[in-house]
Amino acid sequence: MSNIDQYKVHQEPFYQAQGKEVALYEAAYAARLPVMVKGPTGCGKSRFVEYMAWKLNKPLITVACNEDMTASDLVGRYLLDANGTRWLDGPLTTAARIGAICYLDEIVEARQDTTVVIHPLTDHRRTLPLDKKGELLSAHPDFQLVISYNPGYQSLLKDLKQSTKQRFTAFDFDYPTAKLETEILAKETGMDAELCARLVKIGIAARNLKGHGLDEGISTRLLVYAATLIRGGVDAKDACRMALVRPITDDADIRNTLDHAIDAVFA
């Protein structure tokens, strides 16, 4: 059995609630209902899950999903050994065994056939059949499954199946309001509120351009980066260009507009 302690969240992560999501999550956890967190990139989905794991004092196992991920990457596989083969639990199996919260980040990135393996864990059965090993694993009473997904950039091909979607309770996250986001930036980076408010203003300008050449606006995460750079002594405009504009676009017109927004905000 793996070391449970390594999966624990020891320090309280900073999380600024936007609504009632903390209480709602606690209720879902009490009933061990699977949870889905939706929202654009960098709006605090992962931070929220981490925070809840800390608050509930449960281990958290995070899996970043990608296109090449197969079912056995989640469940586990036989490895070749000098003496034959040896079974190695995947992260999902480990979580089900030790009673952790298993967090599948960006679930749509995984192939659709992969996501189906989570189905038996997410309904009344709460079991995980390890068919290769010939074991039917009953989940630990503390086990809970959380998935996150970003509805923004998904194409027709990248959407969750209805059968998967309908196994989850869901939270819809979005970028916080300007006021709240300012507070978040200030708390996260320790910069003064006025500077943070200006950064947020640039963020909002970019979010207004979403769909007009930008796939996604400037995330709270990037705003935090910018504030961090400024705190490190970088000139505000340079920091914004580096952290806010250059990462999100290669389009010269958008870059020019956002650069102007920076000049307009930091006079």
């Binding site: 090449d68 197969t70 070749l80 192939r111 056939d113 910069m191 003064d192 006025e194 500077l195 203003k201 300008a205 970019a206 207004n208 351009l209 007009h212 050449g213 400024i230 705190r231 002594g233 000139d235 505000a236 405009k237 017109d253 958008i254 020019n256 507009t257 956002l258 102007h260 927004a261 000049d263 307009a264 905000v265 930091f266 006079a267």
Partner: protein, 813 residues
């Protein structure tokens, strides 16, 4: 005859001129010349004037020269005379003597625009080149006809140089000289800026920031920073020298000028050594030497000096490169200033009733309201202050003489500057007091348009002087060109009868009907100048007329055997959805064969192959096809060795091809084109992407007719416009033609070939693969130039029905 004063008699003799009109102006001109020119200059002046007088072109040349030269010499220097004299000599020797007078007349304004000798020399060369190329000759030996456009050009040169750089002017002139060299009337139209072409080329060459190049940026600016989505409608600044339209907005959108050049903030008219004065004019300090005293960012001093409360914001956030140059506001920023101002009005202004205000009061209200919305906009985006202060004029406090002219505008402009710029230079107690009152109001936070109106009326009452009634108004430095005309600010109790009722809309006549689609215009590539001719070709599109669909079915039946063979080929091409990829280190499944082999290797002690997985790949077919048919006259000829015309054979071939593509299920369209000069390129839809291969389509195909010529480039661009919208990995455009691109209005055969080649390049950048099927056995000469390697020549046209589908299949295999 006027007598010449004693002291000038000696010069008069040197001039040796008998025109009485010259004698009238001579003393004045001479006195002016004496103050400006050196002794040698005077000698040259008189000598050359004397030559002009004896040239046999009347008194006009010498008169103009005598009057204008001293001023020109002042700008260019006296030694510019030989070059100009040489130019006049060349004009004189050619049949263009009539152009000498306009040339001399235009000289002062040209000198003002091109104040250095090299520039002037370049201009003169341009003039002479132009003269050479437009002066006509018979039998190519002696030039006999005067250049029709040369005098016209001199008349327009002031406008042109105002809009164009010298390089731009050269391109504009070259363009006109090249395309209208053999058509005097059109040449004159072009050079007098009457023709659409002329204006289009001029627009393209203008210096400055063109709206059309930056529309997307500005749309994003509006959407991103101000959350509004508004149409930007350009108005031309080119032809309205007098009226000078200003930006405004109405229901249809925001009207902005079509071009803004960079705005250079004028340097201070006199730098005083008084430090206080310098500090109070911070934005004007670019050329002052006191900049070191923390002054470059003078206008930001307010912000920079504020305790930065731990934000770590460095005081000077400007980049160093702005150092010594005069302050500029880029064209794009001028647009942004206009938009910010207009958006601010939309957001914060409420219309008020105008009826009870006098014109002066209304003007004051407008100025204050403008200042208020800008104040609020700058609260939102402090960086706007830099642009606004750069663009806002700084009227000099004592520039207006209240005895002679009305200072109404001047006073309001000063107030407006003071409201905008905390370091304004004004001492006038009213200005200072009202600036304070304005800021107090704004700081209370709820001042609206109504409060501004009250403040404005009080300002008017306090500052009124008798001379405000004078007819002459002081205008200098009072026009704030980024502000709109404030038409939205006013509402009226009653429509007064002294204004024209702009708002009334005439009901649209019920019988106005829109017939057909408007033409689309396409550029055409001109290889001579390596540039596009803007909006040169008009393409009219429409549905091809319909015929009898059964004809096509009969054709298909005739080729049933061929169709059968094709069918076999097509079945092979049909996509198989899943393809297995073996030997993958990471894959979706274990490839058992390979894995076992690896395991054996491993157990046997040798290095195993780690690539034991396999995965699958979707092998869908995603090709969109456009078949473009040349329907020019030559298709009506009989094909060599066949009883059928090329048109009939094409018909058969295209029918078979369409049938084949239909079998494969690829989206495809068919269209035909022919042209009758650049003004009438017909583009006829035979099959659209959304249509099925049914009787309607077959009917159109059956009715195919051939006439007129082949302007290929425009048709390809238009077809690409449709193909581009298709969602497919690969886009294929098949062009079926029987000859080289040509049209009756194009004498240079090369032009349309080069244009088609350029069209192929454009297609390539759009991700469209153009492929030509040429039925002209002699096509080798040109088809390679156009299509590179992407072509096939079918020598035996009779084989076309068989070749075409086969070709398609092999292309898309």
């Amino acid at each position: 005859m006027k007598t010449i004063p004693e002291d000038l008699q000696v010069y008069w003799e040197q001039l040796a001129c008998g025109f009485p009109r010259v004698a009238e102006v001579f003393p004045d001109c001479m006195r002016e010349a004496l103050t400006i020119l050196s002794n040698e200059g005077i000698a040259a002046y008189l000598e050359y004037a004397s030559f002009l007088g004896k040239m046999g072109r009347g008194a006009e040349p010498i008169l103009i020269f005598l009057e204008e030269w001293p001023r020109v010499a002042k700008i260019l220097g006296e030694d510019a005379l030989p070059a100009i004299a040489e130019c006049i000599r060349r004009l004189y020797k050619s049949p263009n003597g009539k152009a000498i007078v306009p040339f001399l007349q235009s000289l002062p304004s040209v000198a003002r625009r091109l104040p250095t000798k090299p520039q002037m020399q370049e201009y003169l060369t341009l003039v002479l080149d132009f003269m050479e190329s437009t002066t006509g000759s018979i039998h190519g030996i002696h030039q006999t006809f005067a250049s029709p456009a040369l005098p016209v050009l001199f008349k327009q040169i002031n406008v042109l140089l105002g809009q164009l750089s010298l390089a731009g002017l050269k391109k504009w002139v070259d363009y006109g000289a090249r395309f209208y060299s053999d058509h005097p009337e059109r040449q004159i139209d072009y050079f007098s800026l009457q023709s659409a072409d002329s204006r289009a080329v001029l627009q393209r060459e203008r210096h400055g920031t063109l709206l059309m190049d930056n529309e997307r940026k500005l749309d994003m600016y509006l959407r991103g920073l101000w959350q509004i989505d508004e149409q930007l409608i350009p108005y031309s600044t080119l032809y309205d020298e007098l009226r000078k339209p200003v930006p405004y907005y109405d229901k249809l959108g925001i009207r902005v000028p079509d071009v803004y050049s960079d705005f250079v903030v004028p340097s201070p008219s006199g730098i005083t050594s008084d430090l206080a004065a310098v500090v109070s004019q911070p934005s004007r300090m670019a050329s002052s030497s006191i900049r070191g005293a923390g002054g470059r960012n003078g206008e930001f001093a307010e912000y920079a000096l504020r305790p930065s409360s731990g934000s770590g914001l460095p005081a000077g956030t400007r980049t160093a490169s702005e150092g010594d140059e005069p302050q500029r506001v880029a064209g794009i920023d001028r647009y942004r200033a206009v938009l910010a101002h207009i958006v601010a009005h939309r957001r914060w202004s409420t219309p008020i009733f105008a009826d009870n205000f006098s014109p002066f009061q209304r003007m004051a209200v407008e100025f204050l309201e403008d200042s208020r919305v800008e104040y609020l906009a700058m609260q939102e985006y402090p960086g706007l202050r830099r642009i606004f202060t750069g663009l806002h004029p700084v009227p000099e406090e004592n520039a207006c003489d209240p005895e002679k002219e009305s200072g109404v505008r001047h006073r309001l402009a000063m107030l407006s500057r003071a409201l905008l710029d905390p370091h304004h230079p004004y001492k006038n107690e009213h200005i200072v007091e009202f600036t304070r009152r304005f800021h107090e109001l704004m700081q209370q936070g709820n001042a609206g348009t109504q409060q501004m109106a009250e403040l404005a009326i009080s300002f008017v009452a306090k500052t009124r002087v008798q001379s405000d009634q004078l007819a002459r108004t002081h205008f200098k430095d009072t026009e704030i060109d980024y502000r709109d005309d404030n038409r939205h600010l006013w509402k009226f109790y009653e429509q007064s009868d002294d204004e024209e009722a702009f708002e009334e809309h005439r009901p649209r006549a019920a019988d106005e009907e829109i017939r057909g689609l408007p033409p689309r215009h396409y550029h055409e590539w001109d290889y001579n100048s390596q540039s596009y001719r803007p909006d040169w070709v008009s393409v009219y599109e429409g549905l091809h007329p319909s015929g009898n669909a059964a004809d096509i079915d009969r054709l298909l039946a005739k080729h049933a055997a061929l169709a059968k063979r094709l069918k076999k080929l097509l079945d092979l091409l049909k996509p198989q959805d899943k393809v297995r990829i073996r030997y993958q280190e990471e894959g979706s499944e274990l490839d058992l064969d390979v894995a076992l082999r690896s395991l054996i290797d491993y157990k046997g002690g040798s290095a195993p192959d780690p690539r034991i997985n396999m995965s699958h790949r979707n092998d869908g077919r995603s090709i969109a096809v456009m078949v473009l048919l040349d329907l020019s006259e030559s298709l009506n000829e009989k094909a060599a060795g066949s009883e059928q015309t090329i048109l009939e054979l094409s018909q058969e071939a295209v029918s078979l091809l369409a049938w084949a593509v239909q079998q494969l299920g690829d989206p495809f369209a068919i269209a035909g084109f022919h042209s009758n000069t650049r003004h009438d390129v017909r583009y006829m839809h035979i099959k659209g992407y959304s249509e099925k291969w049914d009787d309607e389509v077959k009917g159109r195909l059956a009715a195919m007719e051939a006439s007129y010529s082949t302007r290929m480039g425009a048709a390809m661009r238009h077809a690409a416009h449709y193909l581009d919208k298709q969602q497919a990995d690969k886009k294929l455009m098949l062009i079926l033609t029987d000859g080289e691109p040509a049209d009756i209005d194009s004498k240079d055969g090369r032009i349309l070939i080069e244009d088609a080649r350029q069209a192929v390049k454009e297609l390539d950048t759009q991700g469209i693969y153009a492929y030509c099927i040429n039925l002209d056995p002699k096509a080798d000469d040109y088809v390679k130039d156009i299509f590179g390697k992407q072509y096939t020549i079918i020598d035996k046209v009779a084989q076309l029905p068989e070749k075409l589908p086969a070709l398609f299949i092999s292309l898309t295999k």
